[in-house]
Symmetry: C2
């Protein structure tokens, strides 16, 4: 694997796992007032479309990254709606 | 342009602009307690790497989307550090 591919993989891994601390914090503290509902509504839907796009073009990294981000973003959106 | 490319463009546009309501809300309310600092630290760095990746592979949609997301994520990160 060349170094540019590795750079892309590291970028995808970081942007994917970054949502996990937000899920844990919102879950534990139930403080979601500062989180934007329009952001997570638009973002979660956009990530779902990314996932569809990845499935259509059969791009495994796009499918994998967006599957995880979709789960994390959905959880944050659910916590936001539940505790707002 | 075929419909799969349009799907990808819509997905990229939605995930990019979704961060704008969060920037506006955090700016106006100064309530950033519910926002995860580790999330935006890791995410902003990851988006920066995505931008580098886009520049290396000369992919204009990746460059454009990640330039805007980088600006929005940086602003949220700055507001989080300022008002925490």
């Amino acid at each position: 694997m060349n170094s540019i591919k590795i750079l892309g993989l590291v970028a995808a891994t970081l942007t994917t796992i970054s949502f996990l601390p937000q899920v844990v914090q919102s879950w534990k503290t139930k403080d979601v007032k500062g989180i934007s509902l329009p952001m997570y509504t638009i973002f979660t839907f956009g990530v779902f479309l990314w996932l569809m796009y990845g499935l259509f073009v059969k791009d495994l990294p796009v499918i994998l990254a967006n599957s995880f981000i979709f789960i994390f973003a959905s959880l944050i959106l659910i916590l936001k709606i539940k505790y707002r």
